[in-house]
Amino acid sequence: MLDFLLEPFALGFMRRALAGCLALSVSAPPLGVFLVLRRMSLMSDVLQHGVLPGIAVGAIAAGLSVWAMGLGGVAAGLAVAVVAGWLARRTGGREDSQLAGMYLLALAAGVALISTQHSLDLTHILFGNVLAVDDAALFGMAGVASVTLPVLALIWRPLVLESLDPGFMAATAGRGGLWHLLFLVLVVLCVVSGFVALGTLMSVGLMMLPAIAARHWSDSLAGQVRVSVLLACLSSVGGLILSYNLDIPAGPAIVLFAGGLWVASLLAGPRGSLWRQAIPEA
């Protein structure tokens, strides 16, 4: 049993992947909690597809450089987020339909661009590859975590206010759009930083699933953030162990583990779970 748990981390590349995933586990779930509270869960879907063309363009322009692909991904992710918001306001339409249109377009463009480059493996970009976590990718994940947490702490209060009551924010302090944009920048950075290890599709899983599960464990915002980070760290460790022992890719393994924790929280968490709803309150 001990071998099952510890053997994976005797290998250097697995320790490297673990360090990167733990960095992402600390920085991404707090953003996921805010995405859930702001009813923007769909935005994470959009961004995970939206960064794809940028990563492809970065690779075409500068080869397989993590930094070039990362910068391209950040630029594309922000462009998708800002354009979708602008379109929804300009057309008076529902933002979710504009977002759906944007991410389908971005996914198709990304896949088309990547398929023109034989050196790029679409599966690795979408689902990650722990073997590819080199120093640059590791520094990227740790660097994004080091930026995300202090910035989130600084904008915490206006972000809470803007999430709870954007109308009140506009009427009193204004600048709600600035906090929203800063928040989106952090989300895009986290999605892109995780793409080498987990893939663009799977890094969002580590952002959202622990955040959704945390709602079943705490009534307070700070409590939900703490629980989400804990669940994400557990998912990273557990997922990597499963990945090594069952010989499945790390990204899906970590997200499956996080998904299992979410299902357990939904069934038996102390707040609003199916179990709590089934028993009448004393």
């Binding site: 709870l164 204004g174 709602r215």
Partner: protein, 220 residues
């Protein structure tokens, strides 16, 4: 004093108010009434500086944004948000910047406001555990700590029981006694007659009213 000078308001492509002039005197307490779609909420938002004017101008005569508190209809707020009553109110403490700490005086003002609306023992309670009336009290407490000179209320008694309405009316009365200007969008005519000295009826027609030296109903 707020002076409206021949203003027009648009909702989408439709002009809903035009040629409206008049003034709200400092310290006055006015009910804004009219049929659905007559532009009451839009006028309130325009007075708060949140809705652009299609024509004309509004003179705030020395009021700054921080002097204006707008209590919008609370029904659109997400009541499942994980936040306590105290934090909702404290986040609105006067001129509280994003990075400044919430000091003892702000916390004391928060507690006092919650006590004023009868929620002194519920400050640590999450808002998801509140009834609609209790939540409206929290929003009134938040408006109290804003310490604004001009207070704009949009249908403040919707989904609120008689006891809570009575309590919130007494808060509005406090504001009036303190010399603050209050403008409230209301539907309940009996309540308007009993508690609001001035009433402005929006009728979708151009209109003008002067100062309101005498209580009564003005149509615009």
């Amino acid at each position: 004093m707020i002076v409206l000078d021949n203003i027009a308001l648009r909702h989408g492509t439709r002009i809903i108010l035009s040629g409206l002039s008049g003034r709200f005197d400092a310290g006055s307490q006015t009910a804004l009434i009219g049929a659905n779609g007559s532009g009451k909420t839009t006028l309130l938002r325009a007075i708060a500086g949140l809705h652009p004017l299609a024509a004309g101008r509004i003179d705030w005569d020395g009021f700054h944004r921080r002097d204006i508190a707008l209590l919008a209809q609370g029904s659109h707020l997400d009541r499942s948000f994980p936040i306590t009553c105290r934090d909702v109110v404290a986040l609105a403490a006067t001129r509280l910047g994003p990075f400044r700490s919430i000091g003892k005086d702000k916390l004391a003002a928060t507690r006092s406001a919650l006590r004023r609306v009868g929620l002194g023992d519920m400050e640590d309670r999450p808002i998801q555990a509140l009834s609609a009336g209790q939540f409206q009290r929290v929003l009134f407490a938040r408006t109290i700590v804003q310490d604004a000179r001009l207070i704009l209320l949009d249908e403040p008694f919707t989904a609120v029981d008689a006891d809570t309405t009575h309590l919130l009316l007494s808060v509005i009365q406090d504001w009036h006694m303190q010399g603050r200007t209050v403008i409230a969008v209301l539907h309940d005519m009996e309540l308007v007659r009993e508690h609001f000295p001035h009433t402005l009826l929006l009728t979708n027609q151009a209109g003008h009213w002067d100062a309101m030296p005498e209580p009564g109903l003005r149509a615009a």
